[in-house]
């Protein structure tokens, strides 16, 4: 691990002033891309992900269609101007291809694909600003966009990251902590079904710290889940207003 230019933890507080179990400011809005069937923008601090859903629509090319359920395609991509230093090439990197796969596999358990035989549901996620925890912010944004599109879901999948900083378990890594911390553990969690659908890990973790981190991730996910429900409620209210008037 490289040495951080600033202390990551001092007097129990992190470099940006947060407590170890504290999320950055979380903002969400649903229905932000008017052409899409569903959409959402989610930010955890600076990190901003915008998700759009198209579908269910006819699976195409047709030989990919399944007779008994729908298929889902997920694309995670970072804007060339989303990173701190140099321009990122827009060509999908191996990292982006892997994350697209794990995000799809994190969302599939939540979507009732059996409802959509021969159909395709497309989920497109773009990172506009990256400051750590981009894949988990993407997961929350994708869940909201799917819900906004009216896709049948068993639960929302909420993404949060936990990490190890000075051997302390912390919630919602920012870019600095991601780069200089001792471990990163992105988690996708369904709060009602209490199931994990995304788990990856970097760094070196004892069994105890790992289980402590999982516990903190659940708490973080429950917190974000409330925000997500509110965002969906606001969206329904505004649609209702549009339809029925004030």
């Amino acid at each position: 691990m490289k040495k951080s230019p600033v202390p990551l933890l001092q007097n129990g507080l992190r470099a940006d002033g947060r407590a170890p179990d504290q999320m950055r400011e979380v903002n969400m809005a649903v229905g932000v891309v008017s052409n899409a069937d569903g959409s959402a923008v989610v930010s955890y601090g600076l990190t901003t992900a915008v998700a759009a859903v198209y579908g269910p629509r006819e699976a195409h090319p047709r030989h990919l269609a399944l007779p008994d359920r729908g298929i889902m395609r997920v694309r995670y991509h970072m804007a060339p101007f989303s990173t701190k230093d140099e321009r990122k090439s827009p060509t999908p990197s191996r990292r982006e291809i892997e994350i697209s796969k794990v995000l799809r596999e994190a969302l599939e358990p939540a979507v009732v694909l059996e409802q959509y035989p021969r159909s395709r549901i497309d989920v497109f996620i773009e990172i506009l600003q990256a400051d750590g925890s981009t894949r988990v912010a993407s997961l929350t944004a994708a869940s909201l966009a799917l819900a906004d599109a009216g896709i049948y879901m068993r639960d929302l999948v909420i993404g949060v990251s936990v990490g190890l900083v000075d051997n302390t378990v912390v919630l919602d890594l920012n870019g600095l902590e991601d780069q200089y911390g001792e471990g990163d553990l992105p988690v996708g969690y369904m709060p009602n079904l209490k199931r994990f659908t995304l788990l990856q890990l970097d760094g070196a973790w004892t069994r105890d710290k790992f289980l402590e981190a999982i516990g903190l991730a659940v708490k973080g996910a429950e917190y974000v889940y409330q925000k997500a429900r509110d965002a969906l409620k606001n969206r329904y209210m505004s649609i209702a207003e549009e339809i029925y008037g004030r």
Binding site: V33, S34, N35, A36, S39, L46, V50, A52, Y54, R57, R75, A79, P80, F81, S82, T83, K84, D85, E86, R87, P90, T91, D122, F124, E126, L128, Q129, A130, D131
Partner: protein, 273 residues
């Protein structure tokens, strides 16, 4: 890879198309505007904190973000004492049900190149000031990101690009033992000549009527389309991108675009300062 031009499959129903035309023959548009009326336009700068410059444009429901990243590179061989401009455009798959995932298609490439031509030679950016010692040059990477496409991407993208350049901070050039680098802790504003800002204005033709700022469904009904880019009182770029025009129509379109220019220029006023 192949430069061969493919066909997108974008349809509008015959009935809707006739409706658009019939209404327009009375000089009304289906969204209530008159032919010369531009949709609400909003320009915000500094919206992407990770970029060196950024802007966001909403033109009706069309939504474009422009981000500028500054790099160091080689100048072009035929302009060894000038900085380099690279404009790219990506129509996100978010933007409409017709957008395919993949490298930019011919429409996105045309979009970027029309915006690029408007900026490159009009004097808005003084590229001579972007040379760097040691045979290097600043590279201005302008990425145009279409998030929602409700028509008239060129005019919106041009506004986003010029606003993002106005908002750009140039990182200082730093030397160390391994060579020349950019230091993002020490930035100064990119100088732009505000009076020379290029403004792109597209004119559509439907059933003989010329109109400004076409929507997506109007674009599917066009008999002609041409974009003029103005800097001060000059035409600095032009692109016929659909159909055909008589010489009289061309002159009328030019004058109509010139009037439309005012509308977009005033939306830029606060941003350009």
């Amino acid at each position: 890879m192949a430069s061969i031009s493919p066909y997108g499959k974008r349809f509008i129903s015959y009935l809707r198309r006739e409706q658009i035309k019939r209404l327009l023959s009375t000089r009304y548009r289906v969204d209530g505007r008159g032919p010369e009326q531009v949709r609400d336009v909003e320009v915000k700068v500094g919206v992407v904190k990770t970029a060196d410059g950024s802007a966001e444009v909403r033109l009706g429901r069309t939504h474009v973000v422009a981000g500028v990243k500054v790099g160091l590179g080689q100048p072009f061989p035929d302009a060894p004492d000038e900085g380099v401009l690279v404009v790219s455009a990506e129509v996100l798959p978010h933007a409409s049900p017709y957008t395919e995932v993949g490298p930019p298609d011919e429409s996105a490439i045309e979009l970027a190149r029309v915006v690029d031509r408007g900026i490159r030679h009009c004097g808005y950016v003084d590229f001579k000031k972007l040379a760097v010692e040691g045979g290097k040059a600043y590279v201005l990477w302008v990425d145009l990101y279409v998030i929602n496409d409700d028509g008239n991407l060129v005019d919106a993208a041009n506004l986003a690009a010029v606003a993002a350049l106005r908002n750009t901070q140039l990182p200082a050039v730093v030397k160390d033992e391994t060579g020349i680098k950019l230091g993002r802790n020490n930035k100064s504003p990119l100088q732009v000549e505000v009076a020379k800002v290029p403004v792109a204005v597209s004119v559509g033709k439907i059933g003989g009527v010329l109109l400004l700022d076409p929507t997506f469904e109007e674009e599917l009904s066009l008999d002609g389309r041409i974009t003029f880019t103005f800097s001060e009182d000059r035409i600095v770029a032009l692109q016929k991108s659909a159909g055909h025009f008589t010489q009289a129509e061309l002159e009328t379109a030019l004058d109509l675009a010139w009037r439309g220019r005012e509308r977009f220029a005033s939306a830029l006023k606060d941003v350009l300062g």
